[in-house]
Structure formats: structure tokens, C-alpha cells
């Protein structure tokens, strides 16, 4: 049997810890506070950078996301785990991705950022994390009843490689059209001049961290949703060690570098409407659970050739764009005008998808 050191308890714990330290380092080097890494926020920024939404403060092609996919691709190729696959309810996965992004942007963060917000002392994230846990728990109830999106099948190498190729295209765009000093546009790309989108670590640092995390996560199967799901379904702590490592390392790094500010008010890129922090993440958590992975894990699987996971990621990109176009995304000032509507409609949609895919009585 092949031995994978990263898939051991110590391995996954260390991977989480490395991600935690890198996230705080990215914050110190320019990424927004408590947002060293946030897959939902960064996909929202990419949507803005491509002009899919025009919220001026969140536009930037985040290199971390590109690194996640390409790092996973490199690791999968190196360890002969690149497997082109797909065909397991693709459109359903796309819609789950949209719902997940919209729910996460009501809370203002994916599970990764929920943990980073907690590690920075943002107590509002307690409600977001509790919502995530409830959403994932609901998902496990569906799995216990026989929920399945069906089997995937082997696909052509081109199909498996298309998403990483799209990401390479993004990388080429980012390199060809870097931000010009003080300009909101460079060629086809949009850049933020203020707000979270204007705050970023140097390109090389961001892509380097992204690549490293992509490789480590591919090897260790790091998944923030799976951490909770496996705990609820199997009382299995393995993946939970990953998010524990992430939290502890980020907390300690924050404490050592003055990044710890405990409280509810005045937290960076966060609001205090905690009912909707909770409910937004219930919706997102259920969507992640039904789709079989947190937003990071979906990117890593997409890098391994899983075109269903790639569709989920593209759904998140579109959902994040719509969240800003339709006024459902929150901001530091509070909920968007239609944030509650999106949360509840998304939750109902997830429940319909869940019940519709229960395979046995």
C-alpha cells in the first residue's frame, strides 16, 4: 500500500497549521485583515476583476486561487493521481456552487475565512461557524437517507484539463495586464483602487503560497466542510485535525504579530447581523455538503481533473458575481438589500436538491 505521509493525522494537522501561518503572512504582506485566504471572497474578487460584476471595491484576479488549482494539478500529476472524471449531476453542482457563494457572501466568508476570522478574534464568526456546522449537519442527514448526485465516469484528458487550462488563461491575463498605478482598468481587467480588492500581497508571494497550499491540500485531502461532515457522520476526527491546525496556527500567529482583536464591533470586512451571519452559512454549509467539498477542496479536486468540482467552482464565480449585481452580498455596513431573500431561496433550493436525490426509501 502506498504511504502518503500527508494523509496521516500528523500530516493533516501540519498542513492545516502551514495554511494558517501562510494566511496570516499573506495578511501581513497586504491581503485584507482576517482574509489571508478566503475562497468565496477571492472568487468574488476574480469575478470583479473580469468585469462579471462592477462592485468597484472587490476587483482583483487573486493569484492564490490560481495557485490552489495549479498546485493541486502539479501534485496530482507528480503522484499519478490526475484522473479526468465528471458527469455526476453537473448542472446541479453548478447551482449548488452559486447558492454556496451567495450564502457565504451574506456572512462575508467561506469556511476558511470563518476560521481565520475566529482566529483574529472576530466573535461574529462564531455565528457563521455555527451556521456552517448546522448546514453541514443537515447535509449529513441527507447522506444518511441515501442522498447521492450519482456516479461520475471517466472523461477525456482534455475535459479533465480544461479547468486548469482556464486558470492558466487567467494567469496569463493577470501577467499581461498588471495594474497600472492608480488606474481602475488594465486591458480587459478591472482593479480596485480602494476597499478589499485593492489590498493584496505581492503577486509572486500570493501565487507561491497558493501553489504550496494547492500541493499540500491535494496530498492531504484537506477539506473544511469534510472536517465537520466526517465528525457528524462517522465520529471521525481526521479532517477536523486540519481545521484545528489552521485555527491554532493562525490564532498563535495573530497573537504574536498583533493581529488579535477580540470583539464583535469594528471587525474587518464583517458585520454584526448575527442571525444572518448564521443563516447565510447554514445555506452555504448545506450547499458545500451536498456538493461533497468546501470551496477550497472543490478547487483542489478540479485540479485533479474532476470536472464536476470545476463546475461547482464556476458556479461559485457566477454566484459571487450575481451576489453583487443583485445586491445580496453583505458589506462591512451590513446586509445587502436582498441578502435575506438570497439566503432563504438558496436554502430552499438546497433542500429541494437534497430531497430529490435521495436514492432509496
Amino acid at each position: 500500500m502506498k504511504h502518503n505521509i500527508f494523509a496521516t493525522s500528523v500530516g493533516i494537522l501540519l498542513v492545516g497549521a502551514v495554511i494558517g501561518v501562510l494566511a496570516i503572512m499573506l495578511q501581513k504582506m497586504g491581503n485584507p485583515a482576517n482574509m489571508g485566504i478566503c475562497v468565496a471572497c477571492f472568487e468574488r474578487d476574480i469575478a470583479g476583476g473580469l468585469g462579471l460584476h462592477r462592485a468597484a471595491v472587490v476587483q482583483y484576479l487573486r493569484p492564490e486561487i490560481m495557485g490552489f488549482v495549479l498546485g493541486s494539478l502539479i501534485a496530482a500529476l507528480a503522484f499519478r493521481e490526475f484522473r479526468p472524471r465528471g458527469g455526476s449531476s453537473p448542472l446541479t453542482r453548478f447551482v449548488l456552487g452559486m447558492v454556496a457563494a451567495m450564502g457565504a457572501l451574506v456572512f462575508l466568508g467561506c469556511p476558511w475565512r470563518a476560521i481565520l476570522r475566529l482566529a483574529g478574534g472576530d466573535l461574529n464568526a462564531l455565528f457563521g461557524f455555527a451556521g456552517l456546522a448546522v448546514g453541514v449537519f443537515l447535509g449529513t442527514l441527507f447522506f444518511r437517507k441515501g442522498y447521492s448526485l450519482g456516479r461520475s465516469s471517466q472523461q477525456s484528458s482534455v475535459t479533465g484539463a480544461l479547468f486548469p487550462l482556464l486558470i492558466l488563461g487567467l494567469l496569463a491575463l493577470a501577467l499581461c495586464f498588471p495594474q497600472a498605478e492608480g488606474q481602475p482598468q488594465s486591458g480587459p481587467l478591472f482593479y480596485s483602487l480602494k476597499g478589499p480588492g485593492s489590498m493584496h500581497a505581492p503577486f509572486v508571494v500570493s501565487i507561491g503560497c497558493g501553489l504550496l497550499i494547492g500541493m499540500l491540500a491535494q496530498r492531504s485531502r484537506f477539506c473544511t466542510m469534510g472536517a465537520l461532515r466526517d465528525l457528524f457522520l462517522f465520529k471521525q476526527f481526521h479532517l477536523f485535525l486540519g481545521i484545528l491546525g489552521l485555527f491554532v496556527a493562525a490564532f498563535v500567529a495573530n497573537a504574536l504579530t498583533g493581529g488579535l482583536h477580540v470583539g464583535f464591533e469594528g471587525q474587518p470586512v464583517a458585520h454584526t447581523d448575527n442571525l444572518w451571519n448564521f443563516l447565510g452559512m447554514v445555506t452555504a454549509g448545506l450547499a458545500f455538503a451536498l456538493a461533497g467539498g468546501c470551496p477550497g477542496r472543490q478547487l483542489f479536486m478540479a485540479g485533479e481533473g474532476d470536472s464536476d468540482a470545476a463546475l461547482f467552482a464556476l458556479g461559485m464565480l457566477v454566484g459571487a458575481a450575481m451576489a453583487h449585481n443583485f445586491g445580496t452580498a453583505s458589506s462591512g455596513a451590513g446586509l445587502g438589500p436582498y441578502g435575506m431573500h438570497a439566503t432563504l431561496i438558496g436554502l430552499v433550493l438546497c433542500l429541494i436538491i437534497g430531497f430529490a436525490h435521495i436514492k432509496r426509501a
Partner: protein, 70 residues
């Protein structure tokens, strides 16, 4: 011989299928077919935790047969 085919399914379903089979009969041998490394690791981990010895046979084309014995 029981054979549980988890090919094409992703987590948590392969592990759930193992648990279901293990609940029905936790002694007689079973083989579990998996087609990805994550499932191989997850099913092996769950089986070992339930007291099975796991032998992995490579069936080619990315497919592994996990022979679960007690």
C-alpha cells in the same frame, strides 16, 4: 464474497457504503472497489478502525480493490 462497488462515487459515500455493509455483517470477508486515492484512504481508515485488516490490490486504470478480512 461481498463486493462493494464505490467506483464513480466520492466522499462520504464509499465510507457510508462500507459502514452499511459492516453493520449488516461485521465478520465475513468483503472487497471494496474504489477508483480514487481519497476513497482508498478513507475506506481503509474506516475499516481498520472497525477491526478489519486491509490489503490493497491495484486493478489498473486507477482502480483499487480493498480486501477486507478479519
Amino acid at each position: 464474497m461481498r463486493e462493494i462497488d464505490t467506483r464513480g462515487l466520492s466522499c462520504p459515500q464509499p465510507v457510508l457504503m462500507f459502514h452499511e455493509a459492516n453493520k449488516a455483517d461485521s465478520a465475513s470477508p468483503m472487497d471494496v472497489l474504489v477508483d480514487n486515492e481519497a476513497s482508498r484512504e478513507n475506506v481503509s481508515r474506516a475499516a481498520k478502525k472497525s477491526g478489519w485488516t486491509v490489503t490493497v490490490k491495484d486493478e489498473g486504470n486507477g482502480i483499487s480493490r480493498l480486501e477486507l478480512r478479519k
